[in-house]
């Protein structure tokens, strides 16, 4: 349906919902590359003005990506919960933004969190396009999503971390050294998660056994994950591997997911396999998904109704529509990984990280972020610091951390273990409760609950160093 908006005396026309959503999106390089970005600042505001007056319920009748062509659209609409939607069913997108901000200011987590099954990715994406960074933080921190397997994640006042001990050749001792380094700095409560250098079933099995042994030996209340393709994890399950979490990268369109080699049936099968192992102690969330703005465009799988290019932030929110179907323990966007052709500079990465966290949380996901960048983007450590602290303020479920900010396998920069400590201490946040208790048992915390600066002959350091010298 054709819609018009006027700004500065000029009228702009938006032929379909696809253009309206794209033109309303804050500037980012990926939308320029796709050819769907607003052509001027005024056109962007005109689109936002039209979007603000659009009834939220429009998204139930009018699609961005077609129902018949795309299984993500079908999954979202077929599982939509009208009862959960009822409290906001009569609002426009602009009124919905105002309502969310009012609930957030009043600390009304119940009203915000209860909406999730009634919201679609497009509704949430549209709302985020009207929000400033501070709005995304204020509402994001009041969307409560609690999950668990052997640690409990998402509780108020907590910030967990994924310990990412990657190694260029998956060398067991090298991986163990990075695990020990992270544990000694209070990281790893969300997951100890390894990106394997090669996607081989034997390698995956060996890494799963390695982390399982470390977790068992020291009684660490956390879970492991080897971020292999879901079909590799299925084979590991068949081989009797200790699989805590089934991992998969997912995207917001059926062709993009096909490009990843995944179908909804495959994910259902793998989740059932992990669930059957019964490895949880405090919960039974057994999946882990990664996403990132630009993934559909990079696979040339970013088109919607009539072959029109869909903006990358709307497609990212649709990826969350896939993830939430599988009751994940954790989900994260890898926000600066994909490169400057999708998110050019620190400003764009910062905004995208906050949007992704907000949209994920509103849709009911335990949302974390890999705060990261590549060397050819206009981004540096200061940009990462700003994003990690804002995410801490936004109640982000977890952050990813690597030794010294340098992932020596994937060749990009993420946060250092110490950055997680900084975010926790600046904002008064604590690790997951079971993990915090373990840190205390290991004598890794001082009297104020801070992770100690260790000497090598401290008992915990001795014990963990022994693992790395085995």
């Amino acid at each position: 349906m054709r819609r018009r908006g006027t700004v500065g005396g000029r009228t702009y026309e938006f032929p379909t919902l696809v253009e309206l959503m794209a033109r309303a999106t804050p500037l980012r390089s990926g939308d320029v590359l796709a050819g769907c970005a607003a052509e001027s600042a005024a056109e962007r505001v005109a689109a936002q003005t039209v979007l603000a007056d659009l009834p939220l319920a429009t998204f139930l009748d009018e699609q961005v990506v077609g129902y018949d062509e795309d299984d993500v659209t079908r999954l979202v609409l077929d599982t939509h919960d009208p009862v959960a939607f009822a409290p906001v069913a009569s609002l426009t997108v602009g009124e919905f933004r105002d309502r969310l901000l009012a609930w957030a200011a009043a600390g009304d987590e119940t009203s915000i969190s209860g909406l999730a099954p009634g919201l679609t990715p497009e509704m949430v994406a549209a709302t985020s396009k009207l929000m400033r960074n501070a709005d995304l933080v204020a509402v994001g921190r009041r969307a409560r999503v609690v999950t668990g397997l052997r640690s409990t994640l998402g509780l108020a006042g907590r910030l967990a971390s994924r310990l990412q001990p990657n190694h260029p050749t998956d060398d067991p001792l090298g991986v163990t050294a990075s695990i020990v380094d992270g544990l000694l700095q209070g990281c790893g409560d969300a997951v100890i998660g390894i990106n394997p250098a090669t996607d081989s079933p034997a390698r995956t099995l060996a890494l799963l056994q390695l982390v399982d042994e470390v977790i068992g030996r020291y009684g660490i209340p956390t879970q492991s994950c080897v971020l292999a393709h879901v079909t590799t994890t299925l084979r590991a399950l068949e081989a009797g591997a200790p699989v805590d979490l089934v991992f998969q990268s997912v995207a917001g369109t059926q062709p993009a997911n096909r490009g990843f080699g995944v179908t909804l049936d495959l994910l259902t099968e793998a989740r059932a396999g992990a669930l059957a192992l019964g490895r949880g102690t405090v919960g039974s969330n057994v999946t882990y998904f990664e996403t990132g703005q630009g993934s559909a465009l990079s696979a040339d799988a970013h088109r919607g109704i009539g072959g029109r290019p869909v903006d990358q932030q709307t497609l990212e929110a649709r990826a969350y529509g896939v993830a939430r179907h599988f009751d994940p323990l954790i989900v994260n966007t890898v926000v600066g990984f994909i490169g400057p052709e999708y998110l050019y500079d620190g400003k764009q990465v910062l905004r995208a990280g906050l949007e992704d966290h907000f949209c994920g949380k509103l849709l009911g996901l335990p949302m974390g972020v890999d705060v990261c960048y590549t060397n050819h983007a206009e981004v540096d450590e200061d940009d990462m610091d700003s994003l990690m602290l804002l995410l801490g303020a936004a109640g982000c479920t977890f952050l990813i951390a690597v030794p010294g900010m340098d992932d020596v396998m994937l060749h990009y920069q993420s946060l250092a273990f110490s950055d997680v400590l900084t975010t926790r201490s600046v904002l008064g946040l604590r690790p997951a409760p079971e993990f915090e208790a373990w840190l205390a048992r290991m004598d890794l915390l001082d009297d104020a609950g801070r992770v100690r600066e260790l000497s090598a002959d401290a008992p915990a350091a001795r014990a963990l160093l022994a693992a790395a010298s085995a």
Partner: protein, 247 residues
Amino acid sequence: MSSALDAPLPPGDDPWAVLRAATRARVALGRAGDALPTARELEFRAAHAAARDAVHQPLDADRLRPTLGDFLEVHSAAPDRATYLQRPDLGRQLAEGTSLPRADTDLAVVVADGLSPRAVHEHAAGLVTALVERLPGWSVAPLVLAHQARVALGDAVGEALGARAVVVLIGERPGLSSADSLGVYLTWDPRPGRADSERNCVSNVRPPHGLSYAQAADTVAALLGAARELGASGVVLKDEGPALPTG
């Protein structure tokens, strides 16, 4: 738990050395409060600065002429570095009005800045020499130096020159520990629209840390021979061709 905590310390003066010896990852850095100590922070910045400078240093044709010999120069449709980084599509097209003389040769060689002009400055001449030495029976078009170029720009260059195959030597995305790595991409029957799956790649040419010029040239020459026999490059060639060195 108490038994684990009673573990003996690893031998040696510095027990943390156990961690450092096990991986190239930046482990056991110590802390200043909840942050990195100054010296470790500055080490990281130095590595990032080298990578940033490698991306943004302009490709210097005058510097290359003494070692690379004569070459033709072309520019992609990306007018500057900022555009190049945001518009990979423009980096794959020749600038409007570009003309190249038709050579009708077996091979065209394109030296492209890619994401690390520094890699080109340091390694292109050595690799081109080593490669041409290994192809005595091949007619080779005049060398082309390409500015603000992506790999696929070689398709347009190869087609314009009338070459049966194109080899693109291109600066790879700099990592923190490798700002000067050169990649080599081979495409049989080059023309715009070729898919990445129709190319073969040899990456990490970066002596003395990565592949040597001789190692890389041996592999590329073998691939070229196989591609000529098969009349194709890419996945098909990889499957049927000789085992390729890794890394």
